[in-house]
Symmetry: C2
Subunit: 211 residues, 2 copies
Amino acid sequence: MSLPDSPSPHTPDAADSPVSRREQIYLVAGRLFSERGYHATSMRDLAAELGIQGGSLYAHISGKEQLLIEIVNRAAAQFDAALFSLRDEALGPQDKLREAMTRHLTVIAENMDSATVFFHEWKHLSAEPLAAVIAWRDGIEAFYRELVREGVQEGVYRADLNVKMAANLVLSSVNWAYTWYRPGGPMSPQDVAVSFERMLLGGLERPEGEA
Amino acid sequence: MSLPDSPSPHTPDAADSPVSRREQIYLVAGRLFSERGYHATSMRDLAAELGIQGGSLYAHISGKEQLLIEIVNRAAAQFDAALFSLRDEALGPQDKLREAMTRHLTVIAENMDSATVFFHEWKHLSAEPLAAVIAWRDGIEAFYRELVREGVQEGVYRADLNVKMAANLVLSSVNWAYTWYRPGGPMSPQDVAVSFERMLLGGLERPEGEA
DNA sequence: CCTACCGATCGGTAGG
DNA sequence: CCTACCGATCGGTAGG
């Protein structure tokens, strides 16, 4: 047994690799940050949840803010991966919007913790990562405005639409989901997207001349 | 000059009554909590902003959580006052919905700080005030569902509407405003409400058979 | 409203 | 991964 002396004496089961331990820390941090908030979660809270001492965390991570940065950046990356690939797909404006909303909601639904941290705690980042998040947000808004503009130009949306406000409305509907959506409930993210999209595109009002 | 010895020697200008000082504390606390978050704002930060020492705050207020409770409760009371009076007004469903959205957005727009604290920091309340906020939220949701149900029953909204999801969509659009609305910008809360309400009721799609 | 102070807890480090 | 510790800061109080 000539293991290098890195894992040290007190390693518990020798089952967890350092990598997965690191991931485990991010996972639990995401949950705690989402439940209690970033500043109300102490490194000792986090360590206790993992069954280790506070100082031991620093063998795996460099500091508390690194946790927040990583969680926020990963969430942003997931939105990007889900949404931006849509740009080149050959879909009509409505299908594209519905698909964007479905993917947007799915990212939130499958990552409720990180999504909550993302929307709630990004303000606590320091200057550089903060600027990155703001740039990300601007990019997403531009993406949705583009989807709306396409629909207007192709004549399928009302010509007098305020593109910015329409994109705003769509974004409101999907972003706010992190406050109420519960995975495992009766509706899948797709169900929510279809429901929202029908109401947004067709309107709540009964069309003239229908029974 | 036989004033009671309460205001103490160091009173600065003798212009501020104890009441307005208290209000001033709530006002600044609202701003700081909204900018930095509840837990990232220290009582010393707050005191410094007011030009006094940390301990001096406790001559006016009982504790940090009282500040949060008060800010949150006042915000809830403003929403209640603005919205629930609408129940008895003789308006058609669409007018009622538009008016509700306008008032809802106006409360947010005129109290951006408290609204932000309200939506962002309520989770940090202790059990009793927390339960009150949750009850409040349920009441507001019920209110909007009622507005939607009225419209369906009177036949002005689509008969196949999912009432819960429709109310959800409306609430998303107005609540999310605290993240993007900027008072003093080009749009009044009323402008936003009218814009959102047109899109929500009439839909984004161009009606069949229109130019 | 201030000075001076309290115990508790914070993020993080040294050395093993 | 632990023990033991660091300086800093927290919310809050006593006494004036």
